[in-house]
Homo-oligomer: 309 residues x 2
């Protein structure tokens, strides 16, 4: 654990308790919540007004309800072991302790991380999840293309958002980050266990200037459970899907907004590659044409990719 | 709710989750806790080492146990409705929503308050509790003397700590505050409902320079459940006890370290009374002899009492 002290607003503790309470009930009165939290009803109302900025909760006759479609405690994706936590260090680490074909969803991650351990901010209202699956060793590499494709497709089809993919696996809208992915694999004898970490800025406040959220772009709150269900349904069929690698590659290329642009890639090694993003190899590498020649960049080698045109 | 932002170390959220988890189990392995919290085992160990500064938890063969006598979830005081919360705004407010003869215990209060709404810091390891009872209207005034007496007696008899009472109702040891009380009453038809808020610095870090804790004074952690049980047993008999007001008054006077000292009382009204603390009336008022005459001070009138000798 980092020894530096990370501070949060104390009110976050109330918000998490509020969600914890609502997640387990059909609804609760202001008085019930006040009694559980140990605050007066006006404070409950104040918390309600803040929480509803990021959650589909409503009040009617002093009764507060969390919309079924947005309360992750309400679903049980078929064929999956499903774990919902109000709070977690990281869903990736929770998943390490579970069997394959598990889904972990949390409201708040205290130690979330992105590719190469980069900070990933998971604030209230987003979708922070890890899918732990067992995959065919020969097609594992396809996950990094398949996952952004399915999310992008969902957002385009269900929400009419003209999103694109920024290599290797960010979902962007108008150049702002909407979602990110992190895929970790573990070889276990002849099996491959994959951890698919997905972070989507759904109803949370965009955590950075360079990010946006579905709420911001669509001007309304989006029920997260349909998103969880859609991704779970897709990943359930991953074995079948990865039998058509050419199709995944083509779909990925279609959605990729990186090609044809001038990019600057900072490598893990400390080096930098600058040039034109030309194409994506079948295994997902980015081919960059620089003045000194052509480079094939693997996602694992690249710390940060920036557009410079 | 105050609009100012109160910040806490994010690690507090992990500590509370850790306690929440342990409170419900006989014990848990490092791996189980790691999986629940979503952090690696070294982080669990790091948290364990921090938490055991303030809680009676131990580790043996990677199995962490919260000592039965210190885990408030483990007790059920006879004849009481008992509510244990990891986190609460204030136990006083939780109790408002419960029936008389309820006990509320929490590990952390986000909005705790003392007499006259003064801040009361409730950090990890202390005993923060409210007893809600029904009392005889004629003897309600005796609670303010009876409660400090019973706590002082417990600390003297069970822990050989030569504590005293500072008027109106602080328990002090070597001039440092060990415990404080807050009594609120509610008239309900011909019944009086009393909320007895008790805060004891047991195994927590003393929150202020002017405070100390049992841990600090005794050099070891003290199991809190015996304290809860002792107070509950005493308050159960409050009707019987208050039949001897003279005895309570005498015991209170015996333990009071305020008499014979020069004091400065800041009044709610804005006024100040300075003089010699002479005696306590039968109803608990402090009699102060000043140069301009003799004053009877009621606890409710006094914001702060300071010794000036």
């Amino acid at each position: 654990m980092a020894s530096n002290i990370l501070l949060v607003d104390q009110e976050l503790l109330f918000k998490l308790e509020f969600l914890r309470l609502l997640s387990t009930r059909e609804n609760a009165t202001l008085g019930e919540i006040a009694g559980e939290l140990g605050v007066d009803e006006s404070t409950v109302l104040d918390l309600y007004n803040k929480i509803r900025q990021n959650y589909m909760i409503s009040i009617s006759r002093e009764m507060i309800t969390w919309h079924y479609g947005d309360n992750p405690a309400r679903i049980k994706p078929w064929g999956w072991s499903y774990t919902y936590r109000i709070l977690a260090g990281s869903t990736m680490v929770v998943a390490k302790h579970l069997n394959p074909w598990s889904i972990v969803v949390t409201e708040y991650q205290l130690r979330s991380y992105g590719r190469h351990g980069k900070q990933w901010i998971s604030n209230l209202g987003g979708l922070w999840t890890t899918f732990k699956i067992e995959v065919d060793p020969n097609t594992t590499y396809l996950l990094a293309m398949a996952i952004p494709v399915v999310i992008a497709r969902f957002l385009r089809e269900k929400h009419n958002l003209n999103v694109g993919i920024k290599w290797p696996n960010d979902i962007v809208y108008k150049s702002k980050k909407l979602a990110g992915f992190l895929i970790e694999v573990e070889a276990l004898l002849n099996r491959i266990i994959a951890y698919i970490g997905i972070g989507i800025n759904v109803n949370n406040e965009p955590p950075l200037e360079t990010a946006t959220s579905l709420k911001n772009e669509l001007g309304k709150l989006i029920p997260r459970n349909s998103l969880i269900g859609y991704i779970a349904g897709y990943i359930s069929k991953i074995d079948e899907i990865t039998r058509s690698p050419g199709k995944i590659h083509a779909e990925y290329m279609d959605l990729l907004e990186t090609l044809g642009r001038r990019v600057k890639a900072e490598l893990i090694s400390g080096g930098v590659v600058t040039g034109l993003a030309r194409t994506i190899t079948e295994s997902g590498e980015l081919v960059v044409e620089s003045e000194t020649g052509s480079f094939k960049l693997r996602s694992a080698e690249v710390l940060e990719l920036r557009y410079i045109d």
